[in-house]
């Protein structure tokens, strides 16, 4: 099936495809009641209560007034339904906001400002810089002469770097004015959710170019919810609209997370239900037998000789109703209520407000607080989570000379300052690369101060450091860069930008010096991407040493290099590059290949070292939480050495001899297998020793291990309390979380960036740090906090209290239901097993609601230990983690538990009979003080 989109055809496609109205709503006003009821009744507990309530309408068998079940049932349903309705109303509001946003769309050849919901398939939509894309578009024009534009796809795939999109070749060179009148047809597949594929064809109608078919790929599209960046304007044809866009198709309601406690409660409910059936059957049989042997003799009961056909069922059903209170109807409401309070406590906590930014902590998911108290594994991101993600240029090594080693800050090193003042050519060249080899855009404010807009924190740090060393990147107009150095202005023309990709691990620019016309290639990148390509004869040993030394200090290193190009060499290459940039198949790979042709024979200028400082309190937090028995895994995209250094500096791993690091590496399956087995062996041996053993694995080896040696790797994951995974991709992070979850561990994932979103959503609990990389992680997470150190309080205080309170509350709910139920059961033995209720309806309802449910809600303020004690002795968390087992223990030992309850209610029963029942009878019999007083 295909769809044909006629560009700018205002009539034909209106009826065929939906308009751009986005709807995330679950219900409409009409279907709300039936749909919501249907959803609620898909839960076993609700079905059960409905059955009970219906049975109670049969007056022959009901022991109590039906209102005692219908009342709470209707109340509970009303509460859940109004919560759903409120959520849906909020979704409606946000949809409405998106739908009513104004966009520029071409209508009858004129650009008009209309609401986003009125966009139809085939319309031409105009976007300005920083606009959100309202629907899936095929690009037909941009402000860039080469037809490029930049989009941020973070909302779609969580990647924060900018992606380039290009207009189809057929639209290349069409005049700005003519874009309004463009006509043509796009043949594209029906909507799907694959955001990496778009296999379509475009044919423009005359007079535009020719009627050749032009292939389209995902590169020619901009998808809904992306943002247009660094491009003045772009326009495109709407191909998918409304809920049929790629995002709309992939949007699913995330599965609600279930806590361990919830699962436990469900199991317990099931077990009690089974027990209840057994009780009902036993009592039902006993009742029928008693009826036939004894009750028929009792003339005052007047049992008919012949009963109706259902007579045998009546007594069991009566007991079913009597025992129905065994399953507490109030537990769901009580738990929902206290859980939302736990969440509020997290929101309110003034000790978890980040005073630097004023951001308080927030619990997005109100249902899983008690799981925080049961966390066993924490998977943490590094950059921005453990560190501040505020890059500061600290040291550098220029042509073998180390700067900043003494003071720890190269910007204050007089040696460097002198070299700058003396315009030492090496240093000047180095600073030039720092200043212009990037994609930073300088912005001049009205006062003349220059600020930089950078996509990457590292580039930002380098440009700022260069500016402080008097090499100021002052202005960029079109392709001309202006640099001020020691009072003089130097101009460069940017010829090409060879972008950074994670495969190439370096980026380069080709610039032409406007003074002397020399063409230079400037590069910066990871050491392994630069140093091997130095020109033959250059001594790179000092640079290698510098890189190692800086990595030891936990600094991020970049190597800077340059190469002078001959005019003809550049021209030749430039043609290749243009060709590669416009290929449709494997463009990225082709470009990388072409870049490789230029990026060699570098003259390595030096190494920069950038510090990413640890956040406050990170080592303490990690130490405390590890004492609490929580295992830490660090999953980072950074390189191995830096990751290990950071891990060391934040108590993540212990230095030798106390700690030991085991490396899993290798490029091929065999190598990985061998190293995995070796590590596993060491791990097994040392598991009994009091030694901190951690393993380190890189992305490549991890890929192989997860694919081919999953079993061995799982065993390793269970054995190891600490792990460092470097160079991992977002999907690998999610896979690791999945792996630990499959071993039945409670996992918590914490991160700050778009690349952590998948792991956060995958984990039992996702915590987002609302940091400098934006709010995506915080939005996707269950909890968002301002700083890593709040995690300690979140887990030890809020998690632990929530767990204890919920555990108490649910146990109490079952307890009180069982107690009253057993009194009823015992009473039935002395009331001729006929199913008489000892309590009347009002008392029963009051017992369930006022006496036992409402007062225990006060337990949300219950604290078994003070916050200070818990923080000082984090080991106490073991009890909560083990809670998985101790809570399930009564489940295994369920019958002994019931036995206890039984003897307890027997006792209560006995007390009641011995004191009150005689009293009661005595009241009737006028045997007690009560009656005496009455006379």
């Amino acid at each position: 099936m295909k769809r044909y989109v006629y560009i700018n055809d205002n009539e034909s496609s209106h009826e065929l495809y939906c308009d751009n109205r986005i709807s995330n709503r679950k219900y409409t006003v009409l279907n709300f009641l039936p749909k919501n009821l249907w959803e609620q009744f898909s839960r076993f507990m609700n079905q059960y209560f409905l059955l009970i309530a219906c049975l109670q309408l049969w007056s022959l068998i009901t022991p109590v007034n039906p209102a005692s079940t219908w009342g709470p049932l209707i109340f509970i349903f009303a509460v859940s339904a109004s919560k759903e309705a409120w959520d849906d109303y909020n979704r409606y509001l946000s949809d409405k906001k998106a739908n009513e946003k104004l966009v520029w769309v071409v209508r009858q050849g004129i650009r008009k400002h209309i609401q986003a919901q009125d966009i139809h398939v085939g319309n031409i939509v105009w976007l300005r810089e920083n606009d959100e894309v309202p629907c899936d578009l095929v690009l037909i024009g941009t402000s860039d002469p080469q037809g490029l534009c930049y989009v941020e796809t973070a909302a779609l795939d969580g990647e924060t770097d900018l992606k380039t999109r290009v207009i189809p070749s057929a639209c290349m060179g069409i005049d700005f004015e003519l874009l309004h009148k463009i006509k043509g047809v796009i043949e594209c597949p029906n909507p799907d959710k694959d955001i990496t594929r778009f296999d379509a064809n475009l044919r423009l109608f005359p007079p535009f170019i020719d009627n050749d078919v032009c292939p389209l790929t995902i590169k020619n599209t901009i998808l809904q919810s992306c943002y247009l960046r660094n491009t003045e304007w772009a326009c495109g044809v709407a191909v998918y609209t409304g809920n049929e866009t790629k995002l709309g198709m992939s949007r699913g309601i995330p599965e609600p997370k279930l806590t361990a406690m919830d699962a436990m409660i469900d199991k317990l409910t099931g077990a009690i239900f089974v027990f209840q059936i057994v009780v009902v059957m036993v009592l039902g049989i006993a009742g029928n037998v008693w009826k036939d042997t004894e009750a028929r003799k009792q003339w005052y009961v007047q049992y008919p000789i012949e009963g109706p056909w259902y007579e045998l069922l009546v007594i069991p059903l009566r007991f079913e109703l009597l025992c129905s209170i065994m399953i507490p109807i109030s537990i769901k409401v009580s738990l929902d209520l206290v859980k939302s309070l736990y969440a509020k406590f997290i929101d309110w906590d003034t000790e978890m407000i980040d005073y630097e930014t004023g951001i308080p902590s927030h619990a997005t998911n109100t249902a899983i607080s008690e799981d925080l108290g049961q966390v066993e594994y924490i998977m943490t991101d590094k950059t921005g989570t453990l560190t501040e993600n505020r890059m500061i240029f600290r040291r550098c090594c220029i042509s073998g000379v180390f700067y900043g080693n003494e003071s720890g800050d190269a910007l204050k090193d007089t040696k460097l300052l002198n070299a700058v003042a003396g315009s030492s050519p090496d240093v000047v060249q180095f600073l030039t690369v720092m200043a212009i080899c990037n994609t930073v855009v300088p912005i001049k404010s009205k006062t003349g101060a220059i600020s930089y807009k950078a996509q990457s924190q590292d580039e930002d740090a380098l440009v700022n450091a260069a500016a402080q060393l008097h090499m100021v990147y002052a202005n960029k107009t079109a392709n001309i860069l202006e640099i001020r150095f020691n009072g003089s202005v130097i101009k460069y023309e940017v010829l090409e930008i060879l972008e950074f990709t994670s495969d190439r691990k370096r980026m380069s620019v080709v610039v032409k010096d406007c003074q002397n016309g020399k063409i230079v290639l400037l590069s910066k990148g990871a050491d392994e991407a630069i140093l091997p390509y130095a020109y033959v004869g250059q001594q790179t040993r000092t640079f290698i040493e510098a890189v190692e030394q800086y990595a030891q200090l936990g600094l991020r290193t970049l190597c800077l290099a340059c190469r002078e190009l001959r005019e003809d060499e550049y021209q030749e290459w430039s043609l290749l590059f243009k060709e590669a940039s416009s290929t449709l198949v494997d463009r990225e790979w082709r470009i990388a290949e072409v870049c490789q042709r230029l990026e060699h024979d570098f003259e390595v200028l030096g190494v920069t070292a950038i510090e990413d400082r640890l956040q406050d309190g990170v080592p303490e937090t990690i130490e405390t939480l590890r004492k609490a028995g929580i295992n830490f895994w660090m999953l980072t995209g950074d390189k191995q050495n830096t990751a290990i250094q950071i891990a060391l500096s934040c108590n993540f791993i212990s230095p030798e001899p106390k700690g030991q690091l085991l490396l899993i590496d290798g490029k091929t399956e065999d190598e990985v297998c061998r190293s995995l087995e070796r590590v596993l062996l060491t791990m097994r041996i040392t598991s009994s020793e009091p030694k901190d053993v951690a393993f380190v694995v890189d992305g490549w080896a991890l890929e192989i291990a997860l694919k081919h040696y999953r079993k061995a790797f799982t065993e390793l994951a269970i054995l190891s309390r600490t792990a460092i995974c470097c160079r991992v991709t977002p999907s690998q992070k999610a896979q690791l979380v999945e792996l630990l979850k499959s071993c039945d561990y409670r996992t918590l994932a914490i991160g700050d960036g778009g690349n952590d979103v998948r792991m956060i959503q995958q984990a039992d609990i996702g915590v987002g740090i609302s940091g400098r990389e934006g709010l995506q992680a915080a939005r996707a997470a269950d909890y968002s906090i301002g700083k890593f150190r709040f995690l300690k309080r979140l887990i030890l205080v809020h998690g632990r209290y929530s767990y204890n309170r919920t555990a108490f509350l649910s146990q109490y709910s079952f307890y009180k239901s069982l107690v009253i139920c057993f009194i009823q059961i015992f009473f039935s033995f002395i009331s001729g097993v006929s199913g008489t209720s000892l309590f009347n309806s009002v008392s029963l309802m009051a017992y369930n609601v006022f006496y036992t449910s409402v007062p225990v809600l006060v337990s949300v303020l219950d604290k078994d230990l003070s916050e200070g004690t818990v923080m000082q002795h984090p080991q106490i968390l073991f009890y909560c983690q083990a809670g998985r087992f101790t809570v399930s223990l009564p489940f295994l030992a369920f019958f002994p538990l019931l036995y206890n309850r039984a003897s307890e209610s027997e006792y209560i029963c006995w007390m009641v009979w011995s004191i009150f029942v005689p009293c009661n009878c005595c009241v009737c019999d006028h045997h007690t003080c009560l009656c005496l007083r009455e006379k």
């Binding site: 003799k297 003339w299 007047q302 906590d349 009331s831 007390m911």
Partner: protein, 318 residues
């Protein structure tokens, strides 16, 4: 300065403390000293209370006489059911009750039924409170099944409970003179005043083919039929006592009370027992040793525990 003060004030509000989960709370720490003290205290409180209660219970004098078997003449004992169902045989019977201890007026007269399930579901449900209050004006007697109407006319009072009204009667003679028995005020005042109608008269009662228990005088309104009211307050246990009346004279030691009774009520078909009980009362009510025993037991266990803890504490002092 002002904002500081405001912030300070905000920090003191109860709501702020609530949000920070730091409302003042007392957190008792159970040190050995406290535990021992609490147990000691419980022992000291409970034992005297238990003893006082026991004493009150012991002051109550109770005479119990089971008459259901002895009141059936020797020849009929093989088939008691047909004896009791045969209306032609006179059912009167005399019993002698010896007073073994001085009994101070008022002396309560109870009849006690054993193995009688007034708490049976079918039985408990078979009544109409509305009809008892409003009489025939209230038409819906479906609750009263299976004794709701006879000859297509409603029965007042309807239902199994009323139908099975206890109908043994007792007369008490001491030394040839009849003891005066007060049969008024034996039912709850609230029942007489609010549950049983003042203008409701028995109607069509015990007119059917099956006759259960006693009959009612159709001239007396339900609110004055105190035997019925007492009977209609169903008992929770299968063995129960119900008040019959009060003797308002003291009985001396070795007095012999002759009881002339009409043994009308059928408990023979299901093996129930009938007993006659004469009892005085104390401030605590009738004879009930349980409460006293329970208190003494709790008190003693607490004391024992306190002593054990003291010994343990002395032995394993830190």
């Amino acid at each position: 300065m002002d904002t500081d003060r405001e912030r300070h004030r905000a920090r003191e509000t109860a709501f702020y403390l609530f949000t920070q989960q730091s409302l003042p709370a007392c957190k008792p720490v159970l040190t050995p000293g406290w535990v021992i003290a609490i147990f000691l205290f419980m022992g000291v409180i409970f034992i005297p209370v238990g003893l006082v209660t026991l004493r009150a219970s012991h002051c109550v004098v109770e005479i119990v006489d089971r008459y259901d078997i002895d009141c059936v003449p020797e020849p009929s004992r093989m088939d008691k059911v047909s004896y009791i169902q045969d209306d032609s045989i006179p059912k009167n019977c005399s019993r002698f009750m010896k007073v073994h201890k001085y009994m101070k007026a008022p002396i309560y007269i109870y009849y006690q039924l054993d193995n009688y399930y007034q708490n049976h579901r079918r039985y408990v449900k078979s009544r109409s409170d509305k009809q008892l209050l409003d009489g025939q004006k209230y038409h819906d007697t479906s609750y009263c099944q299976p004794v709701e109407s006879n000859n297509n006319r409603p029965i007042v009072p309807c239902g199994l409970i009323a139908w099975s009204l206890f109908n043994d009667t007792f007369e008490f003679i001491r030394e040839g003179a009849e003891l005066k028995v007060n049969r008024k005020n034996i039912a709850w005042k609230s029942d007489r005043g609010h549950k049983f109608g003042k203008n409701v008269y028995p109607f069509n009662f015990q007119n059917g083919t099956l006759i259960g228990g006693g009959k009612l005088n159709p001239e007396i309104p339900l609110s004055d039929q105190e035997d019925l009211i007492v009977w209609m307050r169903t008992s929770a246990l299968p063995s129960f006592r119900k008040l019959y009346g009060r003797i308002e004279e003291d009985l001396d030691v070795d007095d012999v009370v002759v009881v002339n009774l009409m043994n009308n009520y059928n408990t023979y078909s299901f093996g129930g027992k009938k007993k006659l009980v004469l009892s005085t009362s104390s401030w605590l009510g009738g004879k009930n040793d349980f409460l006293g025993h329970a208190c003494v037991f709790v008190g003693c266990s607490s004391l024992t525990l306190a002593i054990i803890f003291v010994l343990l504490h002395v032995k394993y002092r830190r």
